[in-house]
């Protein structure tokens, strides 16, 4: 699959993650926002895994070891 497309999708996912964290911080004690945001966060973690990142969005492909 085209790596440029993967890189672009990764960047969009990172922006979503940052926006979601900001949303949670701003919501504070607002369960209807923060609990729904927690669910989105879990879905976003699956998008990260699907793009070859770890669940937090970090790179996972280090140097190829023996």
């Amino acid at each position: 699959m085209d790596q440029a497309k993967i890189d672009s999708l990764r960047q969009r996912a990172a922006r979503l993650r940052a926006e979601l964290e900001a949303l949670c911080a701003e919501a504070g004690d607002f369960p209807a926002v923060s609990r729904n945001a927690a669910r989105i966060s879990a879905s976003l973690a699956m998008i990260s895994l699907s793009l070859g990142l770890d669940a937090s969005g970090a790179e996972t492909e280090g140097p190829i070891a023996n």
């Binding site: 879990a42 895994l49 699907s50 669940a55 996972t60 492909e61 280090g62 140097p63 023996n66």
Partner: protein, 444 residues
């Protein structure tokens, strides 16, 4: 519009193996570090082995990480916090889902999952179902008890994620389930191989319906090895007029493998989410080459609440020699799970696997779907009794069939059997996992 891609994840499922392996090693280190940082039990376990996460740099290092088994998991859950114990890596208020193992070997293992873990379960099932042709147009009937066992729960959630219409066939009896499939024209369903045969039997003999004339196009089986045993697979496909696909998973592990639509005679390991190693039963060495059977040691690379790291599953598997024609780079295990290291038993000095008997019995069209095997000690000798039923209309050739059956059993298992013929319907019918192999010898 229907998606034309055969892959749930066209990026990872076709990724060159060496890149996948590099990602696996990196994530193996991550999950090990996570467990070390968040679980007192894992930290003590690894400290006792003289190991720290930073020690893991290569595959050789990874193979030195000590294995865990089910007994250890049970031991860990006797500690706080209740009921999961000190293997738990998250605060209790982050646990969203409870499941447990069946406890057939004693105390069940309690399994905690966070919501992210539960999304991960469903994600793993999406790989399975998409590869088997499940699409948003499908109406999927799930004839399952929806209870404390994980079974088809994640299949249900995966169907929702894919966009299928899900019909939960929970508290209905078997006849009502068949009638609901007929009423709604369901296109797919999930169950154990045993129950798929049981439902077909009820359709035919209690309802007068021919299951192959109903609307089911594909069936996903799990929980027993039958869907990878060719004779059982053929029976179910023929009964329902549908494609039958296998999947192997476990409560403590996750949904780690699947048979794709190409039906290559084996299961893909989901190498995006799991690290599977095969260990030689005698030497303990890791087997990388195809064709040599060993037991599976598995790591769930992203499961957080109660990590599964180098878990000794005791499942017997072997790598297939050739890649799958479907184009996935995820490796195949030949013939699915071939049994369990702790299921293989010695009778009259010969190693016997219950799956080998199933493969023979289900290969005789004259025989009905149910059978039972009883191993006993009679004085100084051991006896295996095989209880069978004949299909209607096949009784006339009994003697000939029995002779052929005995011959085939001896050929395939190197053992002799006492065959008992029972009336059709006399043997126990099972709704979930069958218990057809009964070892009555002391100590077994």
């Amino acid at each position: 519009m229907q998606s034309p891609t055969p892959y749930w994840n066209p990026y990872l499922e076709t990724m060159p193996l060496e890149r996948l392996r590099a990602s696996q090693l990196s994530r193996f280190r991550s999950i090990l570090t996570w467990a070390w940082d968040h679980s007192p039990w894992y930290r003590e376990f690894y400290q006792a082995a003289g190991l720290e996460p930073g020690d893991i740099q290569t595959w050789e290092d990874a193979r030195r990480v000590p294995k865990v088994d089910k007994g250890m998991l049970k031991g860990a859950q006797e500690q706080e916090p209740f009921p999961y114990g000190s293997r738990l890596c998250v605060p209790l208020d982050q646990v969203a889902e409870f499941r447990q193992t069946s406890g057939t070997t004693g105390t069940p293992v309690y399994q905690a999952d966070t919501w992210q873990d539960w999304e991960w379960w469903a994600e793993a099932w999406c790989y399975i179902l998409w590869s088997q042709g499940y699409r948003p147009r499908d109406r999927v009937f799930i004839p399952f008890g929806y209870n404390i066992f994980v079974a088809f729960w994640a299949g249900h959630y995966a169907c929702e994620k894919i966009g299928c219409e899900v019909v939960p066939g929970g508290v209905l009896d078997t006849a009502s389930r068949v009638l609901k499939i007929q009423e709604l024209k369901a296109t797919a369903m999930m169950g154990t191989p045993t129950y798929m045969l049981n439902m077909a039997d009820v359709a035919r003999h209690k309802l007068g319906l021919e299951p192959a004339e109903l609307s089911i196009e594909k069936i996903t089986c799990a929980g027993e090895p039958g869907a990878s045993i060719p004779s059982t697979k053929q029976r179910i496909e023929s009964a329902w007029g549908a494609k039958l696909y296998d999947h192997a998973g476990a409560t403590e592990i996750g949904a780690w493998s699947y048979e794709c639509a190409a039906q290559p005679g084996g299961l893909h390991v989901n190498e995006a989410l799991f690290l599977v190693e095969i260990e030689d039963l005698v030497t303990g060495e890791i087997i990388d080459q195809p064709g040599k059977r060993g037991k599976m040691i598995i790591t769930a690379l992203d499961r957080r609440a109660q990590p599964c790291i180098r878990f000794d599953s005791k499942d017997l598997i072997e790598w297939a020699p050739d890649p799958c024609p479907c184009g996935r780079t995820f490796r195949l295990i030949k013939g699915g799970v071939r049994g369990r290291a702790d299921d293989i038993t010695k009778v009259k000095g010969v190693l016997l696997s219950p799956s080998a008997i199933e493969a023979v019995v289900r290969g005789f069209a004259e025989l009905a779907d149910e059978y039972e095997v009883v191993v006993e000690r009679i004085g100084d000798s051991e006896r295996i009794t095989l209880k069978i039923e004949f299909n209607p209309g096949a009784e006339g050739d009994q003697e000939e069939t029995l002779a052929a059956l005995k011959n085939e059993l001896r050929l395939k298992t190197n053992l002799g059997y006492v065959i008992e013929v029972h009336p059709l319907g006399a043997l126990t019918r099972y709704e979930v996992k069958a218990r057809r192999f009964k070892d009555l010898r002391e100590g077994h």
